[in-house]
């Protein structure tokens, strides 16, 4: 690790407000692909042509909390003496280990157990997450088999190392569908200290406005920061994530024309005011998909079922309640900032 890299790590150490996730795994397990797909909107097929990553790379990602995802190259030996892994592991909140499910995964599990042992020793509060990756090529039965097998073997390895109390979460993921977004959503959520309040607020919102399900999305990455406490239906999540895409794509197409239109008309001196992004779609069976921009690149996406009631009154009530939710978020955020400023 070069000096520069060391500097960034130690800087992060000071900066308490920034949570960090470490992304690890054996080589060619799909770590860079995950980063590109999640944070750069890369088409999954294009990730076939990614080069091997040889240096630690960092993705900054700010939603409700500031987050950095650090990707370590697979061939790296973390226990080289020159490498200040102790400081690194102490500064991170979550550790994500990627296992390629289509490859021989025994090596990966041994490696994982070693990393967990070390990480747990320096930082017992660390969240350990395992992505059983590339499951798109496996059949439904095989997926479950692979998951059970990996879970069991990891458990055995950890038991041998005398670490049977460590909480490890497993996720089945693939970059070709929405499972990777879902998994990362859960991982990020564990790092948000205000999560329980958010969930309660959303629960309150959906109770009072005929909403079936509500998500707080990060617009750029389509990771959801929070949702209400009813179980997440992956299909519903997909619809909502795609709805964010539709809204942004259509809005972007005509965004510039408006600006120049107003300038062309001359007389108006009022500057272009950016409106809050809002999108309402009604479907054939009266279901309404509702999107409204919130603070800090977040958007609320909700599925409303009027159940026979008038759609317009439903929307008015939803608008009113969502406004209150937004004010609530602003308040939470204002309070969350204070300790960060004190630290600086």
């Amino acid at each position: 690790m070069s000096n520069e890299e060391m500097a960034t790590v130690s800087k992060l150490d000071n900066e308490e407000s920034k949570a960090m996730i470490l992304l690890l795994g054996l080589r060619r397990g799909g770590k860079s692909s995950i980063c590109k797909v999640l944070f750069h909107n890369m088409q999954p097929l294009d990730t076939l042509y990614l080069e091997s990553t040889s240096n630690p790379t960092m993705e900054h990602f700010s939603t409700l909390i500031d987050l950095a995802v650090m990707e370590l190259p697979g061939q790296l030996n973390y226990f080289e003496p020159s490498y200040d892994s102790e400081k690194l592991f102490r500064s991170v909140g979550g550790l994500v280990y990627v296992i390629d499910s289509q490859d021989e995964y025994m090596n990966a599990i041994t490696n994982l157990a070693m990393i967990i042992e070390y990480a747990y020793k320096v930082n017992p509060n660390i969240n350990i997450e395992v992505l059983i990756h590339k499951v798109d090529g496996l059949s439904e039965d095989f997926k479950l088999d692979a998951q059970r097998d990996i879970m069991q073997r990891t458990g055995e390895e950890l038991l041998e190392l005398g670490l049977d109390g460590v909480q490890v979460s497993f996720y089945l993921t693939s970059i070709f569908d929405h499972s990777i977004y879902e998994a990362f959503s859960r991982i990020v959520q564990k790092l948000i200290p205000e999560l329980s309040y958010l969930e309660n607020m959303l629960d309150n919102l959906i109770q009072h406005s005929k909403i079936e399900k509500a998500f707080l999305f990060d617009i750029n990455s389509k990771i959801y920061v929070s949702t209400d406490s009813s179980p997440v239906d992956i299909q519903l999540y997909e619809v909502c994530a795609e709805f964010v895409d539709v809204t942004i794509d259509l809005f972007d197409l005509y965004k510039d024309s408006h600006r120049s239109d107003k300038r062309a008309s001359g007389g108006e001196t009022t500057p272009y005011r950016p409106r809050e992004l809002k999108n309402v779609a009604q479907l054939g069976n009266d279901v309404i998909i509702y999107l409204k921009q919130m603070i800090r690149g977040l958007a609320l996406v909700a599925v409303i079922r009027p159940n026979g009631a008038d759609a317009e009154s439903c929307l008015t009530v939803a608008d009113y309640n969502v406004d209150i939710l937004k004010r609530g978020l602003e308040e939470i955020w204002a309070n969350a900032r204070i300790p960060a400023k004190d630290a600086v």
Partner: protein
């Protein structure tokens, strides 16, 4: 009259050039990814599609393997080439045997000249995504010049061609123009749309076919200088994806309002309008009422 509304479209080209993929994407809601599962077309696959209510598209997807091809030009020639409205010939840009591709094109033209001389000819240079970005234009021009010469020889002087790929919006553009060339009352739609635009004080209104989301016409065909020139195809693509995600909620799409400024709504049982207003301060009810009133002019 009834026969006039039936349009026979021949979809031809050599094996593996992507004819069935196109058909599946435009007419059967496949995603580009799904087309990998398609097998070779055996002989001719017919599909009937109602388009804009009163028009039926009879799509003849002709399998492209040499065995079938030979048959079309000999035994079945009167069956295949009679009463053809449109020939869509697909060329694979990566093909090794360009001369043979062109030869088959000329054979088709020869039969068409004999059996249905009024047919419109379109050529699609398909799989353009496989060509380097800076070479695409050059390759397209070169190929089109060659094909234009050939088709002029057989009495079809104004050949129209498009570079296409299933991985971007170029496919929608090509098919929009092909299908639009078959719509008889285009002028009425255009006039009505102009009227609607001035009534609503809109920046732009675009009319789409409901099931395929192909562009029928738009209010400012030429003067959309400031706007993205590829916006029609992009909207087609976006809306089609959205329609597909709506099916996960077991429902079709009805209306969509973004920032009280972009309105997408059904206009009739087979048309969808896409309206962009100049201001976003208009009352939503008023705009929706206007759309409702406009519906009767687009039945």
């Amino acid at each position: 009259m009834a026969t006039n509304n039936r349009k026979k479209l021949l979809l031809m080209g050599r094996s593996g050039s992507g004819k069935s993929s196109m058909r599946s994407i435009i007419f059967s809601n496949y995603s580009a990814f799904d087309t990998r599962r398609l097998g070779a077309t055996i002989d001719v696959e017919h599909s009937h599609r109602r388009f804009l209510g009163n028009m039926t598209l009879n799509l003849w997807d002709c399998g492209g393997q040499d065995v079938f091809m030979e048959n079309y030009f000999t035994k079945q020639k009167d069956h295949i080439f009679q009463m053809v409205q449109v020939l869509i010939h697909v060329f694979d840009v990566e093909s090794q045997e360009v001369m043979k591709d062109i030869e088959i094109f000329t054979r088709a033209l020869k039969q068409l000249k004999h059996y249905s001389p009024d047919a419109k000819i379109f050529v699609l240079l398909h799989k353009m995504d496989l060509v380097q970005l800076d070479k695409r234009e050059e390759l397209f021009q070169l190929m089109m010049r060659k094909l234009q010469e050939t088709s002029a020889e057989y009495g079809f002087p104004n050949l129209v061609g498009f570079p296409t790929s299933i991985w971007d919006e170029s496919l929608y553009k090509a098919w929009s123009q092909i299908v639009c060339s078959l719509i008889p009352n285009m002028a009425t739609y255009q006039a009505n749309l102009k009227e609607l635009k001035s009534v609503m004080d809109a920046c732009e209104i675009i009319l789409f076919e409901r099931s395929t989301f192909l562009v029928i016409c738009s209010s400012n065909a030429a003067n959309g200088e400031r706007l993205d020139p590829k916006r029609f195809e992009k909207i087609s693509n976006i809306m089609k994806n959205f329609k597909q995600s709506c099916t996960k909620l077991k429902s079709g799409f009805r209306t969509l309002v973004i920032n009280e400024n972009i309105y997408v709504s059904e206009l009739s049982s087979n048309m969808v309008c896409f309206i962009v207003l100049n201001t976003s301060d208009d009352c939503q009810q008023m705009v929706l009422e206007n759309i409702k009133k406009a519906k009767q002019f687009f039945q």
